[in-house]
C-alpha cells in the first residue's frame, strides 16, 4: 500500500510515516518511507511517502498513491495528483495561511479549495485541528488523522500494531496524549461509510 502524507513543516509528517511504517514491520512485513527534512521544515510544504509493499525506491509516483493523508487543507489540494484513480483522501479542513497569502500576494479561498479536492478525489474531510485541541494539543493532528483513516478502514494495518508502533516511536510523556488522539480519530469515523 502506498500512502502519501502531506502537511506544513512542523506538523509531524515524519513521525506519522514512521508510526505507519513500523506498524507494518511489527506485523512482519517491510516498509519504506521518504521524508522532507531540512529547510522546508521551517513552515514550508512537506510530504512523506510510506510504502508497505514491494518497491525499490521510497518514492510514490504521481497517480500512484492508494491514500492521501493531509494534515492541512491547502497541502491536501497540492498533492491530490499523487492519488490513483478512485483512491481515497483524508484531509484536515483546518487551513494554515501561508505568509505569501497573508501578505495579500496570493489568494486563498477555503471553499474553492475544498471544491477542488472533492472534484478530484474520493475525500473525507475532518476538522482534525479542533479534535486535536480537544484531545489536549494541536500537535496531535497527525495521530487524529491516522485514527480517522484507520477507523474508516482505509489502512491495511491492525489497530493493535499501530498502537504498539506509537508506543515505540513516541516519547513516554506524550504517549497517552497521542493514544487518546488516535482513539478520538477512530471514534470520529464511526457511522461514516466508505463511498
Amino acid at each position: 500500500m502506498d500512502i502519501l502524507i502531506s502537511g506544513v513543516g512542523g506538523q509531524g509528517t515524519v513521525l506519522a510515516s514512521k508510526v505507519l511504517a513500523d506498524s507494518r514491520v511489527i506485523e512482519g512485513g517491510r516498509a519504506r518511507t521518504g521524508e522532507t527534512i531540512g529547510m522546508s521544515q521551517r513552515g514550508g510544504s512537506v510530504i512523506s511517502h510510506v510504502r508497505t509493499g514491494e518497491s525499490y525506491s521510497a518514492f510514490i509516483p504521481v497517480g500512484g498513491a492508494d491514500l492521501l493523508l493531509s494534515f492541512e487543507l491547502i497541502e491536501g489540494a497540492r498533492n491530490i495528483s499523487y492519488l490513483k484513480e478512485g483512491a481515497h483522501a483524508v484531509i484536515n479542513t483546518a487551513l494554515i495561511n501561508p505568509v505569501s497569502a497573508i501578505l495579500g500576494k496570493e489568494s486563498c479561498d477555503k471553499e474553492e479549495i475544498m471544491e477542488y479536492i472533492s472534484a478530484n478525489s474520493n475525500v473525507f474531510f475532518i476538522d482534525a485541528s479542533k479534535l486535536a485541541r480537544e484531545a489536549g494539543a494541536i500537535r496531535v493532528v497527525n495521530t487524529i488523522l491516522i485514527g480517522f483513516a484507520y477507523g474508516l478502514g482505509l489502512l491495511d494495518l491492525s489497530g493493535e500494531s499501530i498502537e504498539k508502533s506509537m508506543s515505540k516511536n513516541i516519547r513516554a510523556e506524550y504517549l497517552d496524549l497521542n493514544l487518546k488522539a488516535f482513539r478520538s480519530g477512530i471514534k470520529s469515523a464511526e457511522g461514516v461509510h466508505l463511498n
Binding site: G9, G10, K18, A21, D22, V25, R30, A31, R32, T33, G34, E35, T36, I37, G38, M39, S40, Q41, R42, G43, G44, S45, H49, S55, Y56, S57, A58, F59, P61, V62, G63, G64, I74, E75, A77, R78, I80, S81, E85, I96, N97, P98, V99, S100, A101, I102, L103, G104, K105, E106, S107, C108, E112, I113, Y116, A119, N120, S129, R133, I138
Partner: protein, 590 residues
C-alpha cells in the same frame, strides 16, 4: 531483527557494526542524522563522537585517529567537503591505517543547499574510491564494506549518499555481528610527514592502485549487469532504484548496468555492458560521471555507440530525477508510451515557502536593525542558517548570501568599494565558530568599518539543534566551559562589543544605531534562544484592531492573519514573543 531505519541511521548503524571508534562531523542537510544516530547507538560510550567546529577540523580529527589504527568516520554535506578538501587532498598522499570513511551527502535539486556539486568528481580529483548507495539497505552494506576496503588500500573511502537515500527509510535486517579489535597505536614513520619527494613517490603508487581498485569494482556486487536486450540503461544511486520500480511497474526489459562503486570506474564491467547493448541511456543525478566513464571506454576500445544522457542534452543537466522525469526519458528512449496521468481540474494554490517560525528571535533582530537603519544607505550581508530566511518578504534583510562565514568578509569588500554605505553582516552562533572568526580577525587587522550582527540562539537551529562550542554541551554528554562570542570579539581588539536581547526592542534599536555610528568594527550579539527549544504557553492578544495591517506588512509573522479585514492571532502558532506589540501604531496587541 528487522528495523525501519532512515538512510542516515542505516549508515550510522553500519559504521557501528563495523567497529568505528571515532566519529566526527559538522551538521549539514542531508547528512546531519548520521552522526546523531551514531551518538544514539553509542549507549556504552565506546565510540568517541564529536560535532567538530567545521568539516576541516572533523576530517583532521578522524585522520589522526586513523593513523593510530582506529576505524573512523567523518560526516558532512557536499559543500562541507569544500572546506575539508585541503586535508582530504593531502590525506590521499599520506594514506591511512585504521579504516577511514568520509561520508559526504550530495543534494540533487538542490533541496537544502547552495550548490548542486557532485562529490563523485572529488573522488576522481583526490584519487579516492567513491561508493554511491541506491537505498538505505545498500548504504548499510556499503559502509561496512567501505571500512574493509579502506584498510586494504590504506586510503580514505568516500561514501556518497544523496538526499533521497539519506532521508528515506528502508527495512534493515540487523545482526549482532559487531567487529571489534585493539587499536594498535601510532607508529612513527617518515610516511606520515608530507614532503614533495614523498608526494612524487606516492603519486606513482596511487595511480597503480587505481587500476587494482577498478578491477575489484568490476567484480563487486554493488556493480552489476541485470536483465537483457539491445536497449541498455546505466544508472547510479537512487536513480537505479527508481528505474527498477519503473521496469517492474510497466514490465519492461533492459540490460541494466547498476553502478554503486563508481570511482575508480569499473572498466571491465563497463566493457562487458558496452559489448552487450546497441542503444545506451545513462540516468544519474548531478554530473554525467558514469556517462563520461562510458565515453572513456568507447574511446579506449575504439568502438562507436550513441550514448544518450546529459552530454548530448537528452537528460536535464540540473535538478532531481523523479519517477515522472525518468519515465518520460525512457518513453523517449524506447519510442513507446507507458502511462497517461488522469487530468485534474486546475486551481491556483498559494505557495508555501519556508519562513522564520512565529516567535523566532532572528525576526526580531532583523526588525531591530531594519528599524535602526531606516532612511540610511545600508546593505545587509547574510550567511548560512535559518536566518537566510531573512531574505524573504516582508523583512528583506538579506542582500547577499554565498557560503558559510562569507557574510563578514563580503561585507568588508563591499565597504572598500562603497565606503559611504553602512554595511552589516549577520552570522549565526554555530556559523561564527565554523568560519566566522578568521573573517572577523581580517576585518580588525585591515581596519574595516563594518557592523557584525551575531544572531546567537544558542544552537545550530537549521539542521535540527546541534550543540556547538558556545553551548558547552558535547555529543559525549559531557560539558565544556561555554566559549563566549563576546570574549572572542574583545580578544580580537574590538572595542564595540554589545550583547542585547532582540525582544528588548527599544534598547536593541539604540545599540544598533550606536554600532552603525561607531568607526571601526562593531559587534552586536543578539542573544535569545531558538523558539523551537522554548516551551511556552504564552500568546499575544489583540483587541480593537483598526485593520491597518502594519504588523503583517512589517514583520510577516506566520501567527498573524487577516479575518474580515482585521488582524487575528493564531494561538496554535503564537509564542507570545511580543515583537508585534512594537509595530502596532494603535497599541492593540497585549
Amino acid at each position: 531483527m528487522k528495523e525501519v531505519l532512515l538512510g542516515n541511521a542505516a549508515i550510522a548503524l553500519g559504521a557501528v557494526m563495523a567497529g568505528v571508534k571515532v566519529v566526527s562531523g559538522y551538521p549539514g542537510t542531508p547528512s546531519t542524522e548520521i552522526l546523531e544516530s551514531v551518538a544514539k547507538f553509542n549507549k556504552e560510550g565506546k565510540i568517541n563522537v564529536e560535532w567538530s567546529t567545521n568539516e576541516k577540523a572533523a576530517l583532521e580529527v578522524a585522520a589522526g585517529a586513523s593513523y593510530c589504527g582506529a576505524r573512523t568516520m567523518v560526516t558532512m554535506k557536499q559543500v562541507g567537503l569544500n572546506v575539508a578538501s585541503d586535508p582530504l587532498m593531502s590525506l590521499g598522499i599520506v594514506g591511512t591505517k585504521g579504516g577511514m570513511v568520509v561520508v559526504v551527502a550530495d543534494d540533487p535539486g538542490p533541496i537544502s543547499s547552495q550548490t548542486e556539486q557532485d562529490t563523485r568528481h572529488f573522488g576522481k580529483y583526490a584519487n579516492l574510491p567513491v561508493l554511491d548507495p541506491s537505498s538505505p539497505e545498500e548504504a548499510y552494506e556499503m559502509i561496512r564494506y567501505a571500512f574493509e576496503l579502506s584498510e586494504k588500500i590504506h586510503l580514505p573511502v568516500i561514501l556518497r549518499p544523496t538526499t533521497k537515500v539519506c532521508h528515506s527509510s528502508g527495512t534493515i535486517e540487523t545482526d549482532e555481528n559487531r567487529y571489534d579489535y585493539e587499536i594498535e597505536g601510532f607508529v612513527k614513520s617518515p610516511d606520515r610527514v608530507i614532503f614533495p619527494s614523498l608526494t612524487y613517490r606516492r603519486h606513482l603508487e596511487i595511480e597503480e592502485q587505481q587500476k587494482e581498485i577498478s578491477d575489484i569494482f568490476s567484480d563487486l556486487s554493488f556493480n552489476r549487469i541485470e536483465g537483457k536486450g539491445k536497449y541498455g540503461i546505466a544508472a547510479g544511486g537512487v536513480t537505479y532504484a527508481i528505474v527498477k520500480d519503473i521496469i517492474n511497474t510497466y514490465n519492461l526489459e533492459f540490460t541494466l548496468l547498476k553502478v554503486g562503486a563508481v570511482f575508480p570506474a569499473p572498466d571491465k564491467l563497463y566493457d562487458r555492458f558496452l559489448d552487450s547493448v546497441e542503444e545506451i541511456l545513462v540516468l544519474e543525478e548531478l554530473d554525467p560521471a558514469i556517462e563520461e566513464q562510458l565515453y572513456h571506454r568507447l574511446a579506449v576500445n575504439n568502438i562507436k555507440r550513441t550514448i544518450n544522457g546529459k552530454m548530448n542534452g537528452y537528460v536535464s543537466p540540473a535538478g532531481e530525477l523523479r519517477f515522472e522525469n525518468i519515465l518520460e526519458i525512457i518513453e523517449r528512449f524506447t519510442g513507446k508510451e507507458f502511462k497517461k496521468n488522469k487530468q485534474l481540474s486546475s486551481i491556483d494554490l498559494p505557495r508555501r515557502s519556508p519562513v522564520l517560525c512565529a516567535g523566532c528571535p532572528h525576526r526580531a533582530s532583523f526588525y531591530v536593525v531594519k528599524t535602526a537603519m531606516r532612511g540610511n544607505k545600508s546593505l545587509f550581508c547574510g550567511d548560512i542558517g535559518c536566518y537566510t530566511l531573512g531574505y524573504g518578504k516582508p523583512l528583506e534583510m538579506t542582500d547577499t548570501c554565498l557560503c558559510m562565514g562569507a557574510g563578514i568578509t563580503i561585507a568588508q569588500g563591499i565597504k572598500k568599494a562603497e565606503p559611504d554605505t553602512n554595511v552589516f553582516a549577520f552570522i549565526g552562533d554555530s556559523t561564527f565558530f565554523a568560519s566566522g572568526m578568521t573573517g572577523l580577525a581580517n576585518a580588525v587587522y585591515n581596519n574595516s568599518n563594518i557592523n557584525v550582527m551575531v544572531l546567537d540562539n544558542s544552537t545550530t537551529a537549521m539542521t535540527g539543534h546541534q550543540p556547538h562550542p558556545g553551548t558547552g554541551k558535547t555529543m559525549m554528554d559531557t560539558v565544556s566551559p561555554e566559549i563566549e562570542i563576546s570574549k572572542i570579539a574583545r580578544a580580537l581588539n574590538i572595542d564595540f562589543v554589545e550583547r542585547v536581547n532582540p525582544f528588548d526592542f527599544t534598547r536593541a534599536v539604540i545599540v544598533v544605531e550606536e554600532a552603525a555610528r561607531y568607526e571601526g568594527v562593531s559587534v552586536v550579539i543578539f542573544e535569545a534562544p531558538c523558539v523551537a527549544l522554548l516551551k511556552t504557553d504564552q500568546v499575544c492578544e489583540i483587541e480593537n484592531c483598526t485593520g491597518c495591517k502594519k504588523c503583517i506588512r512589517e514583520i510577516g509573522c506566520p501567527a498573524l492573519y487577516i479575518k474580515e479585514g482585521k488582524v487575528e492571532i493564531d494561538d496554535d502558532l503564537c509564542t507570545g514573543c511580543g515583537l508585534c506589540k512594537n509595530v502596532c501604531p494603535a497599541e492593540c496587541i497585549k
